[in-house]
């Protein structure tokens, strides 16, 4: 592992199941940070609760494992108080979209510079396979034994509507693209959201006959297409990958510096 300098090796092998996509996200994240060449002293990772949240224990950054859904709120306090820090907030789909949905849209609205990575495995893994807000209609879960009648959010649409100034989606199959997007998201001067389709063979795959980890990765290859690609035009049902939003708007911490100047009559 080339980016070994960025992990806490003593906790490996990690606690995720064989084939879990979250490990691929971690893998890509480390490469992205290494490629940016930034000092790890300036990185803070704030996570919530769930399988995804365990990622913060493995990185050799300042790390905070917080409450279910609340990671962005903790992160907002950190960022506003020390804007020079790079704040990365990995979240699960339940974490980000259910219990943390409100914090998610408001962080996007504020356009505070941080990187939200939604590790979407479409299931509550740690509690044993209950359906999540991103499971989607018709999926099976331990709390949807007859098939899910809840419709899923579209994370990209939600983040875009809420005002995120960088919104992208990729999958763990597209590992190079993943590292590239994470790097771009970290470098973006505003609130960035990256949705990563991340396989959970143990809880989602098994219940939904999606196969093992390689098969689930294959489905990301066949089931997704780049924005505006020929593949997408030929098959409109494919899930789009790429950067959907990338714009610059006044960033919250810098705006607050303006408030301070105004309050001081400067």
């Amino acid at each position: 592992m080339p980016a070994r300098d960025y992990i806490r090796e003593r906790f490996f092998p990690h606690m995720w199941c064989p084939g879990c996509g979250h490990g691929i996200v971690l893998n890509a994240l480390l490469r992205a940070v290494e490629a940016l060449g930034l000092d790890k002293k300036n990185f803070v990772m704030v996570s919530g609760i769930g399988c995804s949240a365990r990622i913060s224990g493995y990185v050799d950054f300042h790390s905070m494992h917080t409450l279910h859904g609340r990671a962005l709120a903790f992160a907002t306090g950190i960022k506003i108080s020390k804007p020079e820090l790079n704040v990365i907030v990995p979240m699960g789909d339940g974490d980000a979209m259910a219990i943390g949905g409100n914090h998610f849209i408001h962080a996007a609205r504020r356009n505070i510079e941080m990187t939200a990575i939604v590790m979407n495995n479409r299931i509550y893994g740690m509690t044993g396979g209950q359906f999540s807000p991103l499971s989607g209609y018709g999926t099976m879960g331990t709390t949807a034994p007859y098939g899910n009648i809840d419709h899923g959010f579209n994370t990209v649409d939600l983040a875009s509507s809420a005002g995120a100034t960088f919104v992208a989606r990729t999958t763990t199959y597209h590992a190079r693209e993943l590292a590239d997007f994470i790097g771009q998201a970290i470098s973006h001067p505003g609130f960035s959201v990256l949705e990563v389709l991340s396989q959970c063979p143990t809880q989602f795959g098994r219940r939904n006959k999606a196969g093992d980890a390689p098969e689930m990765l294959e489905s990301y290859r066949t089931g997704t297409a780049r924005i505006d690609s020929k593949k997408k035009r030929e098959n409109p049902d494919l899930i789009e990958r790429g950067i959907f939003v990338q714009k610059e708007l006044p960033e919250y911490c810098r705006e607050y510096e303006r408030i301070i100047s105004k309050a001081r009559g400067e």
């Binding site: 494992h65 306090g77 950190i78 409100n102």
Partner: protein, 382 residues
């Protein structure tokens, strides 16, 4: 200094005291009757280079406050009952992760939405036991502007000294009351700053290893030491553990660091207690009525005294027991169904001598209300 004398609301006093204490960040959500604290903070904090955040709810407010504290700032939020309910989750997190912060709860009538614009003191037990799991907590209160100022500063001092969240319980009457206050000069009230580790870069730093005196030096996020913070039971580096001996050591530490130092955080005032035969025990707005009655009856030669509690948690049981020892009877004056009365009964030698004078209809308990109860106890009828 004449310009240091102001005629302002209790909530504004609290906000000014926080600035005096060196608050660097405030996050909150509007809620009656605490909103003026947030409003005043939004004016004052940027003036002193601090940060004010209006968050999307009370949950995120306290979370943001905890996060900001980790970067090395003194931090505060303010709310009222319903918001305080929402903060219980993050309060427990701050207890577990030992992150200093101050939470102001300006109490109103409850439960639920209750009486938003009326006074109550029903959150005393919520402050103590509101978050899940065993823990110790510090909660302080005040009944007048000088004390609001002093106890706000003390709340920050306790938070830093014991690396813990501290709750400041005000109430609607005190929060909205306008009276004169002389703002203390800088240095007049001692301030406790953040205790930072002396461990140098490259040397193993243990964020959760108490020193011999029980204190835990911190390292700011963004500084040279990279460590982990988690609400799970954790080892001295902050990493999760399920080892029974480590788990037990941590819960013991969390409780002992407060319980074993309770005397150091006990604040109270005694009025006319030396020769008293009857004792009132009260706090917050209720203590103003109790004091008024005590001073009136003293003029008539009645030997009544008042013990006003500024520290409610950890409960100053020894002080209360001693003060109640030779009394004919003890009357606890509070605006709830007897939350501190129960503690007083547990503390004294003869709980049968302890009575409650309360009002829970959203109105401030009056000296007459208290006098009526006194007459009933004395068998004199109302």
């Amino acid at each position: 200094m004449s310009d240091a004398v102001k005629f302002i609301q209790g909530n504004v006093v609290c906000a000014e005291a926080a600035v005096y204490a060196g608050v660097g960040m405030f996050a909150g959500y509007p809620i009656t009757p605490s909103t003026e604290i947030a409003e005043h903070m939004s004016v004052r904090l940027p003036q002193v280079g601090g940060k004010f955040l209006q968050m999307e709810d009370e949950i995120s407010s306290l979370c943001a406050v905890i996060g900001a504290s980790l970067t090395g700032h003194k931090t505060m939020t303010a709310t009222s009952g319903p918001g305080f309910s929402l903060m219980q989750e993050a309060l427990g997190y701050a207890v577990m992760t030992e992150i200093p912060c101050v939470i102001v709860d300006v109490m109103r009538g409850g439960p639920s939405t209750g009486l938003p614009t009326h006074v109550g003191q029903g959150d005393v037990m919520q402050a103590r036991y509101g978050t899940h799991g065993d823990h110790a907590i510090i909660a302080v209160t005040a009944s007048n502007h000088a004390d609001i100022f002093r106890m706000t500063v003390e709340a920050f001092n306790f938070a830093e000294t014991y690396r813990t969240p501290v709750i400041l319980l005000l109430d609607e009457v005190i929060g909205h009351l306008r009276e004169k206050i002389r703002i203390p000069e800088p240095g007049e009230i001692p301030l406790v700053g953040r205790l930072r580790t002396a461990v140098e870069h490259g040397v193993d730093y243990h964020p959760y290893l108490p020193r011999e005196d029980g204190r835990l030096p911190m390292s700011d996020f963004g500084d040279v030491h990279r460590y982990n913070v988690t609400g799970l039971y954790h080892d001295m580096w902050g990493f999760p553990t399920e080892k029974p001996e480590v788990v037990y050591g941590l819960i013991r530490h969390l409780v002992d660091k407060i319980d074993h130092n309770s005397e150091k955080m006990t604040r109270f005032r005694k009025y006319h207690t030396k020769d008293a035969e009857t004792l009132f025990i009260s706090y917050g707005a209720a203590a103003r009525s109790a004091l008024h009655l005590v001073e009136n009856r003293r003029k008539r030669g009645e030997r009544i005294g008042l013990l006003e509690l500024n520290t409610l948690w950890p409960f100053p049981a020894d002080i209360v027991r001693e003060a109640c020892r030779d009394m004919n009877f003890v009357l606890v004056v509070e605006m709830n169904m007897g939350q501190i009365t129960r503690e007083v009964k547990l503390a004294v030698e003869d709980p049968r001598k302890v009575y409650l004078a309360n009002r829970v209809d959203g109105e401030l308990i009056t000296p007459m209300d208290i006098q009526n109860i006194v007459r009933l106890i004395q068998g004199r009828g109302v």
